[in-house]
């Protein structure tokens, strides 16, 4: 893990208020694993003060035309920090700290993965899809958001991914929560990865409980969000209750086995 000034290679508005940043960051590209994140300095001044945690979205996937020293981030404009990031231009530099945290663990025997994304939870799952595809694992990615302009268009995903989308307002794909799309794929998958708002977990847990009653216990990993200050495991801002006591999302996570953080 290092601090580095990454070079902005491009910044593309990909949908509504969502931006795709391609960066040259050789050390981070070399060391990063899907599910890890970087802490990004959003400007050079003292406000906004703190770095923002941002998931690593792509780790130099050759198939998508990336160089091996590149990474990508996707940013949704929420407040001041993300607004500044959305205005970066080619040739700017971006102060990164990373890669941070523990990423997703794709098991050696896995052949079929289900990725379930709520909103920008999609960001780190695409890096995982890249890795899965490189290992010839089949990938289904379910993506949900409030409305169409918050959905990442399919051309930004590896073509091998089966991409199903839904929106809460029905403006794109099925109407409703992304977790509604899960049931058939839960039967199919060897491993499940979930990333998105907390509210996604209860329905997923319910579905898994039903499956478990049928004797099927699927390994599910979930990436959590939390308010962070240091991102380094120091400040104890980002703790979450787990089966083994309080854990730090930034260092012990953000990816946890679902069994660690929820019971069913």
């Amino acid at each position: 893990m290092i601090r580095t000034d990454a070079l902005v290679l491009s910044n593309t508005a990909v949908a509504g208020d969502i931006f795709l940043l391609r960066l040259r960051a050789p050390e981070i590209a070399r060391d990063a694993a899907p599910g890890q994140f970087v802490e990004v300095r959003c400007g050079s001044t003292l406000a906004p003060l703190l770095r923002r945690p941002i998931s690593i979205h792509r780790i130099g996937p050759r198939a998508a035309g990336y160089a091996p020293d590149e990474i990508a981030l996707v940013i949704r404009v929420i407040g001041e920090g993300s607004r500044l990031l959305s205005r970066l231009r080619e040739g700017d530099t971006l102060d990164l700290l990373g890669p941070l945290g523990r990423g997703f663990r794709l098991f050696p025997g896995t052949r079929r993965v289900l990725l379930v994304a709520g909103g920008l939870g999609l960001a780190p799952l695409v890096a995982l899809a890249d890795e899965a595809i490189a290992h010839e694992v089949n990938v289904v990615l379910l993506g949900g958001a409030e409305t169409a302009c918050r959905i990442l268009p399919p051309q930004y995903l590896p073509p091998e991914v089966e991409y199903q989308v839904c929106t809460e307002d029905g403006s794109l794909g099925a109407c409703g929560m992304v977790t509604n799309l899960c049931p058939p794929y839960l039967e199919w998958a060897d491993q499940v990865f979930v990333c998105g708002p907390e509210a996604m977990l209860p329905p997923v847990v319910d579905q898994l409980r039903a499956l478990a009653q049928g004797g099927r216990r699927l390994p599910v990993q979930v990436s959590l969000e939390a308010r962070m200050a240091c991102g380094m495991g120091v400040c104890l801002s980002c703790v979450v209750e787990t089966r083994h006591g309080l854990k730090r999302v930034c260092r012990d996570g953000p990816v946890f086995d679902l069994t660690e953080v929820r019971v069913w």
Partner: protein
């Protein structure tokens, strides 16, 4: 050129730092977390996380929120407790060349004394920073740091319980910080550090509720710098012991301001989160500045901005 300072000149063997740049309690963990990123042995000293007698779970989440040029935190002293610290952390520190101070917080005068006694026997502990000022713990904490009599009582009890250098960390949430400082020095503090955080809050207008799980939190970061600096300036004129300046220091210029206001050393807190190398950069920056100014000893500029008749 010398950057060295002694924070307990009145006590053998003193508390000698190779430079005046420390890292503040609660912002550098137990010193091990940043080890991969920062050359921690270069630091003047490390102050470890606030430590209590028994392990503590801390406050509900969310525990932090950003404010303009500031950070609110209500960690609530989540920590492993002093016994685990002595068992698991102090032995690591004993191998380090950088001195480590343990920041302590009790819920009663007796608890403060007991923690100090336990630390007294631990190799690897260079000194104690007594947090009489943590605004997050209902019992103890706040109440004792704002009252000169209570603050002196705690100081005296800790002083009694240990031979280690004792630095007392003051809260800024008071009308007259000088009176607290004087009381604490009178009770035997070898040094003072100031300031801890200012009690603040933020409201989430969407939920119409306080954003932090604990409702209020402590404000740190550059936002508080001018107030912290004024308090250091006042206290440094009033007490004969070394004063350590803390509060919003982010770079060499702000560190120099605290030294000139009379701080013998400084602590970097929140800025470490923004750039983990802040403290190391300040060490380099102070060296360069002294060289440019042709000053051979950092102690020459300590208090340079104080009134000349003081």
């Amino acid at each position: 050129m010398s950057l060295a300072v002694d924070l307990a000149p009145g006590r053998e063997p003193g508390l000698r730092l190779r430079n005046p740049v420390m890292v503040a309690s609660g912002t550098f963990g137990y010193g091990t977390e940043y080890a991969g990123l920062v050359d921690i042995q270069r630091l003047g000293a490390i102050v470890c996380k606030g430590t209590t007698l028994r392990p503590r779970r801390g406050n509900p989440t969310p525990r932090t929120a950003e404010t303009p040029a500031g950070l609110l935190n209500s960690i609530g002293l989540q920590n492993i407790g002093v016994r685990a610290l002595v068992r698991e952390k102090a032995p690591i520190w004993a191998k380090w060349s950088v001195p480590v101070l343990v920041n302590i917080a009790g819920e009663s005068t007796e608890e403060y004394a007991e923690i100090a006694r336990i630390l007294d026997e631990a190799p690897g502990v260079a000194g104690i920073e007594v947090n009489v000022s943590c605004p997050n713990v209902a019992a103890g904490g706040m109440t004792c740091g704002v009252d000169p009599v209570l603050a002196a009582e705690v100081t005296a009890a800790v002083r009694e319980a240990t031979t280690l250098p004792v630095m007392v960390k003051l809260t800024p949430n008071v009308t007259d910080i000088v009176s607290i400082a004087e009381a604490v020095v009178g009770a035997g503090a070898d040094a003072l550090s100031l300031v801890n955080t200012f009690v603040g809050m933020i409201i989430d207008i969407n939920t119409k509720k306080p954003l932090l799980g604990a409702v209020t939190g402590g404000l740190s970061g550059p936002a508080i710098r001018p107030i912290a600096l004024r308090m250091v300036y006042e206290v440094a004129q009033a007490v004969p012991v070394p004063v350590v300046g803390v509060g919003g220091i982010t770079d060499t210029v702000s560190a120099l301001q605290f030294l000139m206001a009379g701080a013998a050393a400084i602590q970097v807190g929140t800025a470490t989160f923004v750039d983990p190398n802040t403290a190391a950069d300040i060490i380099d920056g102070l060296g360069d500045w002294l060289e440019r100014e042709g000053i051979s000893d950092i102690r020459e500029i300590v208090g340079a901005a104080l009134p000349k008749d003081a």
